[in-house]
Amino acid sequence: MNSPLEIVCPAGTPAALKVGIDAGADSIYLGFRDETNARNFPGLNFSRSELSEAVRFTHDRGRKVLVAINTYATAGNMIAWFRAVDDAAACGVDAIIVADIGVLEYAVKHQPQLRRHLSVQASASTAQAIKFYQQEFGISRVVLPRVLTVGEITELNQEINIETEVFIFGGLCPMAEGRCSLSSYITGISPNKEGVCSPASHVRYSEEGGQLISRLGGYIINAFKAGEAAGYPTLCKGRFVTGGKASYLFEDPTSLNALDLIPALMEAGVCAIKIEGRQRGKAYLSKLIPEIRSMVDAAAKGDMMPSSGLEMIAEGQRQTAGVYKKSWK
């Protein structure tokens, strides 16, 4: 029996964290309630005292807490990010997930004992880039950007001696993470700086002519006919026109579901699988995590188990194995 993949589960609130742990997650990743993390959504995330409590709860059950401090620190106001690093260390978390070189450097200097994971937001897509972060900032794990196929991940793992973590389920960025200014182009709020993509404050839904219209920052993003499954009002999953034809130019409203690739990813040398969705909540986790738990355990024993019944929680009620399969590109 191989050692099972580590299931890294999102939590936007303490209640979601408990659901994730009870449902069988190995690690929980979460963020502080501010712009230091890439899911800086209103009403979401953890206060310092909630984090302390979360660490106690999680460690009592032998699991881990990973804190995402994965936005790019603002010039002249780096203190918010530095404090996040220090507070995460003080709360006794198991690792921080960082993208910004300035923040990484601070963590190395001031909290050297604290494990550092390289965030997907750093978009380290080659062995060369990953080795660079390893040598310069002593990262222990890299969250691979969603630009690599399973074949490419296999090759990559042969060249590096560091843990790799990949996204397995949830929202799918068709763009290279941490390198996208589409949302800030029309809302002025940046995923990299403020930690929000397609901020709810700039989203408007309306019913017009029997269609559900979604707008972001005043621009129409999509129009759904009655009965048509809807998606998030994220720009990259909108319907746009070029050459007189409307289409999902960048990506369909769809979720990543690569659960069937769990055995292949194990084979590829991946050590942890991550679920996107800190903004999703308890119901999502209680459906998803037990399913993934049993698939991971089956794969560790060499059994194959098909995933099922997750279409309803998927965006647009559609799913894709995304870039892990080459045909996506």
Binding site: G76, G102, A122, A129, R179, S181, Y185, G188
Partner: protein, 299 residues
């Protein structure tokens, strides 16, 4: 540090035919009042073989006319072949190279290099680190507001650069949108991106000009213009200004910027000329002013 204003012609992001590219650079060499020119393929490594052979001639012509040449590397490096190409380039000390991806920084660390706009430099700590690695010029990312630029400029020991003209590079993807649009796979793309020398225009369902696709890259629909902000940028301490090539009279664009920098042309009049020259395209400067990148704030 330098306090004379300089113009840089950024790399051509589009898939232009080799002859068009050569003629373009020869004309730039002979006529454009720019100080620095970036060469190299930044968007898609598959395009490079078509014009690679021309680069030495182009570089020579540019240098002969007194222009500094920078070799810009790929923005999204995704395989070993691409890394090897960057590594090979990095082993030639006579070349001045602009890194656009961490893989390139890794190759260039310890020697002199430039940091391109695809590297995330949002704060002084990151800037200091890169300078420590050997970076001696940094072109900032287009979404930085003036307040961040000011802090970085106050802090920096190397010249900073900012894009002041052209469509803004907003996103990169493993997926090729030109191929997807033509129902082709990336590996068999037939180089359809060459049909759109100024990028493929993308509109909203309501017909608003919105974005531009260029292979794996997504750009703004609007051209950024910081003509009216040049003086303020100089006050802040930024003296290098990047013009990103569009399929318009780039010599004319460079002349307008040069004249405004030299106080020979009023920025407002310069903007009028820029609009005439660029045809029916919207302009924007919202990122600089701390808001939506697509907006144009009147000076």
């Amino acid at each position: 540090m330098e306090t004379t204003s300089k113009l840089t012609l950024g790399p051509v992001f589009f898939n232009w035919a080799p002859e068009k590219l050569r003629d373009f650079y020869f004309r730039i060499a002979d006529q454009a009042p720019v100080d620095t020119v970036c060469l190299g393929e930044v968007i898609c490594s598959k395009r490079l073989p078509f014009y690679e052979g021309l680069i030495p001639d182009i570089a020579e012509r540019l240098e002969a006319s007194g222009k500094e040449v920078i070799f810009s590397t790929l923005a999204l490096v995704m395989n070993e072949r691409e890394v090897s190409a960057i590594y090979a380039l990095s082993q030639k000390p006579e070349f001045y190279i602009e890194a656009n991806d961490t893989s390139a920084i890794s190759c260039l660390k310890g020697r002199r290099f430039a940091v391109g706009p695809f590297i995330n430099v949002y704060n002084e700590a990151t800037m200091d680190y890169l300078i420590g690695c050997g970076a001696d010029r940094i072109c900032l990312t287009c979404e930085l507001p003036s307040r961040s630029i000011r802090i970085l400029a106050e802090h920096s020991t190397v010249p900073l650069e900012l894009q002041v003209f052209g469509r803004m590079p907003l996103a990169l993807s493993a997926r090729c949108y030109h191929a997807r649009l033509h129902s082709l796979h990336k590996d068999g793309c037939q180089f359809v991106c060459d049909q759109d020398p100024d990028g493929r225009s993308v509109e909203t369902l309501e017909g608003d000009g919105f974005l531009t696709i260029n292979g794996i890259q997504t750009m703004s629909h609007s051209y950024v213009s910081l003509l009216a902000e040049l003086r303020e940028l100089q006050d802040i301490g930024v003296y290098r200004f990047r013009l990103s090539p569009q399929d318009v009279d780039m010599v004319g664009v460079a002349q307008i910027f040069r004249q405004v920098l030299d106080h020979r042309l009023d920025p407002g009049e310069g903007q009028n000329q820029l609009e005439t020259l660029s045809g029916n395209v919207a302009f924007s400067n919202g990122f600089y002013h701390g808001g939506e990148g697509c907006h144009y704030i009147n000076p």
